[in-house]
């Protein structure tokens, strides 16, 4: 494991599997009557969030606290200082506070990379712009492996706003590394320019892909990141790319429906599908804590030297 977790694109297969295996052990802790470990006692984890995110921040906070680390929530939202400068100032402040790890979410792609060059501790990317969200991809992979027993050879379909989705990017790289075959389905306007260079198949027809999917991952349409009209109406989007009850019926019996949350029910996913037995939405949240515990343990649990 490297010193930072910034993206899944540069995460090797062995390291990815190490995270998943460690997360499996961490999940067992949740079954013990005392769900707290002394492992990271005396370590400080700073949650540095430049963007709203209740679930990811809380997940990291719970993970760090279960490992007995001290957690500081540093919400930097609304700062009017220019981005580069303020980030560096913040980095120096955290450095002075003795942060062992900084969990960073930032609206600008690449901000955690920058941060990593300024601090002595480990940096965990908790979502940067439209770039990556590695722990989400790791928890998705962990969920698939727990439910279906493997990742290699799985046919995973990622549907929706791929253009703005760091979750999709992180999943594409990680799943390719772990040997799954990924298909992205989206309106042409919501696919990034470089998608042809990704290790994925591209389709515009959800109905054709669903019967051949072991996992279908629905993405939220990120209205807040859209500055132009990417599709005519929400109703049209929903009818062509939403996962409703009829569509879900075309999935193989064992197939999973995943969503990173927050869901827009009725838009990209129907309520009945989101609450069905094949949906892993709630599991993903629980698995998120296990995976983040694993990441924090692997980054902070040793002497800090590269193994």
């Amino acid at each position: 494991m490297k010193r930072h977790l910034l993206s899944t694109e540069d995460l090797g297969r062995d390291d990815a599997l190490l995270v998943l295996d460690t997360a499996e052990r961490m999940a067992r802790v949740a079954e013990a009557s005392v769900r707290k470990l002394p492992t990271l006692r005396g370590r400080t984890v700073v949650n540095l969030f430049f963007e709203d995110s209740t679930r990811t921040r809380t997940s990291f906070e719970v993970a760090a606290k279960r490992l007995s680390a001290d957690v500081i929530n540093f919400s930097a939202r609304g700062s009017s200082v220019s981005k580069g400068e303020s980030l560096k100032d913040t980095a120096q402040t955290l450095e002075a506070m003795g942060a062992d790890a900084v969990v960073c979410r930032h609206p600008a792609s690449g901000a955690p990379h920058r941060l990593a060059s300024w601090v002595r501790g480990s940096v965990v990317n908790a979502g940067d712009g439209t770039h990556e969200h590695p722990t989400q991809a790791l928890l998705d992979a962990f969920t698939m492996r727990r439910r279906l027993g493997r990742i290699e050879g799985l046919r995973v379909t990622i549907v929706g706003d791929v253009l703005h989705s760091r979750v999709a990017r992180s999943n594409v790289w990680l799943l390719a590394t772990l040997g799954a075959s990924v298909t992205v389905v989206a309106p042409p306007t919501l696919l990034p320019l470089g998608v042809s260079s990704w290790p994925v198949e591209v389709s515009y027809n959800l109905d054709a892909v669903l019967p051949k999917s072991d996992v279908v991952m629905m993405l939220r349409v990120q209205r807040e990141r859209m500055s132009a009209a990417f599709f005519p109406t929400e109703r049209e989007y929903s009818r062509r790319y939403g996962l409703d009850v009829d569509r879900a019926a075309n999935l193989p019996e064992h197939a999973l429906v995943m969503h990173p949350g927050p869901m827009v029910r009725g838009m990209e996913i129907a309520s009945q599908v989101a609450d069905s037995a094949r949906s892993t939405v709630v599991e993903q949240v629980a698995n998120g804590v296990s995976v983040r515990m694993a990441v924090l343990y692997l980054l902070l649990g040793g002497s800090g030297e590269v193994v």
Binding site: T22, R28, A32, S33, V34, G302, S303, E305, V306
Partner: protein, 213 residues
């Protein structure tokens, strides 16, 4: 580590690995320990065995099989990974985690026997006691080890000892078990010269800050 295989010509050279317990010795010792457990716990009433990974786990299973062969009772058996409770995590690179498997019925009110291959500093057992507390409150905790090599750094002793083996602190005791290593045997390896850790024979009861057995 090639020099460690039992019967290897290298082991006859002075200063090289020497075999101190053969496969047959281990079988006899495990059998005796199983009898001792039955004797001390009056037939194994309320006993749960928890092996400390890696090699404590197959040892615990062997003891349970032996107990079954003698008295026909099936004792619950599982594993307990103390890694995240160690006090020396920051002294070296991050350690991989092992499996914790508490048998059905839990540990509350039970007599838990922790099983490990080598007792050395006692720090692993200390960590295991803490780990155990997260899973419940046993009526009593006992300790069974295949080899006790002394050099305790904590006030911990074993209730069942396979073999007392006085060693120098710098020597290395390597327990080989069929289930993990493909063959049974206990070897003493000569002191390692550098700080580099030997890759083959490792178990988890290490003295503080070193990576030796």
């Amino acid at each position: 580590m090639a020099a460690a295989a039992p019967g290897d010509p290298v082991s006859r050279r002075p200063g090289a690995a020497r075999t101190v317990l053969s496969a047959d010795d281990i079988t006899r010792i495990v059998s005796r320990m199983a009898h001792q457990i039955l004797e001390k716990t009056t037939g194994g009433a309320g006993v749960v065995l928890l092996g400390i990974p890696t090699r404590g786990v197959p040892l615990a299973h062997r003891l349970v099989r032996r107990v079954h062969a003698v008295e026909g009772v099936d004792l619950p058996v599982g594993s307990l990974d103390p890694t995240m409770y160690r006090d020396d995590l920051r002294l070296r690179g991050v350690r991989p985690l092992e499996v914790t498997e508490i048998p059905d019925g839990g540990v509350d009110g039970k007599v838990v026997i922790l099983v490990d291959d080598v007792l050395f500093s006692g720090r692993t057992v200390r960590a295991a006691l803490d780990a155990l507390a997260a899973y419940g409150r046993p009526r009593a905790v006992q300790l069974a080890v295949l080899v006790d090599r002394g050099h305790r750094e904590l006030p911990i002793r074993a209730d069942y000892v396979g073999k007392n083996m006085p060693t120098s602190r710098r020597e290395l005791v390597a327990v080989r078990l069929r289930e993990v290593d493909g063959g049974d045997g206990v070897l003493i390896l000569p002191p390692t010269s550098g700080p580099t850790s030997p890759s083959g024979p490792t178990s988890t009861d290490e003295p503080s800050g070193r990576d030796q057995q």
